[in-house]
């Protein structure tokens, strides 16, 4: 197994050396990188993970050893951040501003909790679609807005029905996601591996 000696190098040199090594040895399934400072060690681990390697870090005296193993699913071309995500796509279709039926005050609280907990689905969560009164969750001042913005910042795609925003006269107040049409919504439902409707 090859060892890449990056002792005595400061950031970003160890990452650049590792990048060069990975790109000039695309067939290497396993190798080790040695650095002598914690910042470089963390950066090399990150870089390897972004290129589809699993990386384990061990400290040996003043040295940090990073063992890199190519993950099976990513053999071959180095994947970007997007492709590294799980391939399963989960779509959550939100068709109203409250959750469940019976009591709207309770329903509103439940929807708030739901959107704030949705993150727990992890990387399979692919897209959120807001329809009908569900679009009210995406507007300025909505209690649910920060949670949806947070999900969007994490890479979850957010679609908001334009016809619905227009109907409620809320087009200007929308603060998250992409305004969309029925064709996009239908295509999204088709592309998703799983659709959860609430």
């Amino acid at each position: 197994m090859e060892t890449l000696n990056c002792r005595g190098l400061a950031c970003p040199q160890p990452v650049l050396r590792t990048k060069h090594f990975v790109e000039s040895n695309p067939q290497a399934p396993k190798f080790t990188v040695v650095v002598d400072n914690a910042a470089s060690a963390q950066n090399v681990v990150r870089f390897l993970e972004s290129r589809g390697f699993s990386a384990s870090l061990h400290q040996e005296g003043t040295d940090f050893e990073i063992k890199a193993v190519k993950s099976d699913e990513s053999r071959g071309e180095a994947p970007g951040k997007e492709e590294a995500k799980s391939s399963e796509k989960m779509l959550v279709l939100v068709t109203k501003s409250t959750m469940g039926s019976g009591d709207d005050v309770l329903g509103e609280g439940l929807m708030f909790n739901f959107l704030n907990t949705l993150d727990e689905m992890g990387e399979v969560l692919w897209r959120l679609v807001f329809l009908n009164s569900g679009v009210k969750l995406t507007i300025e001042g909505a209690r649910t807005l920060p949670a949806i913005q947070q999900l969007e910042a994490q890479g979850v795609s957010v679609l908001v029905c334009g016809t619905c925003l227009t109907h409620f006269n809320l087009l200007e107040q929308k603060r998250v996601g992409e305004t969309t049409n029925m064709l996009d919504i239908v295509t999204s439902l088709q592309l998703a591996d799983k659709v959860i409707s609430v």
Binding site: C11, V15, A38, Q42, N43, D119, P146, A153
Partner: protein, 321 residues
């Protein structure tokens, strides 16, 4: 810190001195005049000497703006490798610095140069302020909103530039951002009930916030998704192009910070990213915050945003949600 335990000379005219961290020192001359003094210099962060000169000058002037003052005079500080580098490089750096000083309405009174193996440039700056209008890091009030005037991420992007991995577009964006004076921000905030201010530099947003709430009666909450940032910084952070200073900043201050696990790892990084010539962090009365943001945006600081607020609890801590 090297001065720890040493006796610091002081007198009753010192308004802001060495007893607590702040952006610059302030010394009272008369009932309606105090001087602000600050000094800053560093090694090149961009390859173009003219732009490096501008950035170094903007960075040094920023501390005066962060105290609420107006910079008036400056002195050059230069360390230059005469044997390895052509004098024309130095002239371009100095030209960049002078152009920034002209833009700021500052006069150059002198300077000092030494021969050194490593190039360094910066300024010592003196500014004026009314003694009753000094903006320190300490006079926060519960309910105040926190406003940031420049996007974060310059440390990570500078690391990518060093590694030769940054695109020409982002180099240009970040160069202009770092060279932009905080003068207009300081001028605009003068008309508002601003209680405290600092500029975001080497300790990163959370490091500078930590200095504001440390040993105080206040806490702050930051909404991570409202913090303006350079999107390319997220990309480079994911690739491991993270400056060592960022990890140091986090290690130093993480005990004071509660970050919700739902905040993206790379956004967490950017909150600790050391900035060069970063924006002003303005602490303003709640009812004036939206209006102040609008005015700052009108003046061209289009990424300005309200990023959080001052709380009564948890005292001395930063909550990031």
């Amino acid at each position: 810190m090297g001065l720890c335990g040493l006796e610091i000379p002081t007198d009753s005219s010192v308004i802001v001195g060495m007893d607590r961290p702040d952006d610059a020192g302030v010394y009272k001359i008369s009932d309606d005049l105090a001087i602000i003094q600050t000094v800053d210099f560093f090694t090149p962060i961009v390859d173009d000497p003219y732009w490096f000169g501008q950035i170094a000058a903007a960075n040094a002037l920023s501390d005066v703006y962060a105290m609420g003052g107006v910079p008036k005079t400056a002195m050059n500080l230069v360390a230059f490798p005469l044997k390895q580098m052509d004098m024309s490089v130095l002239r371009q750096i100095l030209q960049g610095g002078l152009d920034k000083m002209k833009e700021a309405g500052v006069v150059l009174l002198g300077g000092h140069s030494v021969e050194d193996n490593e190039l360094k440039y910066g300024l010592s700056v003196t500014g004026f302020i009314h003694p009753d209008r000094v903006l320190t890091k300490k006079d926060l009030k519960v309910g105040d909103r926190l406003i940031l005037t420049k996007p974060l991420g310059t440390g990570i992007i500078n690391t990518a530039i060093k590694g030769g991995l940054a695109s020409a577009e982002i180099i240009e964006t970040v160069t202009h951002l770092m060279a932009a004076l905080n003068r207009d921000a300081a001028k605009v905030m003068h008309d508002y009930p601003v209680h405290a201010c600092t500029d975001i530099t080497g300790f990163g947003l959370l490091g500078h916030l930590a200095e504001m709430v440390m040993d105080s009666e206040f806490g702050v909450e930051i909404q991570a998704n409202r913090v303006p940032l350079l999107p390319e910084a997220l990309e480079y952070a994911a690739m491991g192009l993270v400056p060592a200073g960022l990890y140091k900043n986090r290690e130093f201050r993480q005990a004071m910070v509660d970050i919700s696990p739902s905040v993206d790892t790379f956004i967490q990084d950017i909150l600790f990213d050391p900035q060069t010539s970063g924006g002003l962090l303005i602490c303003v009365a709640r009812e004036s915050a939206d209006d102040l943001v609008d005015r700052l945006k009108e003046k061209g600081m289009d990424k300005t945003a309200i990023i959080g607020e001052v709380l009564s609890e948890p005292k001395g801590r930063i909550v990031v949600t």
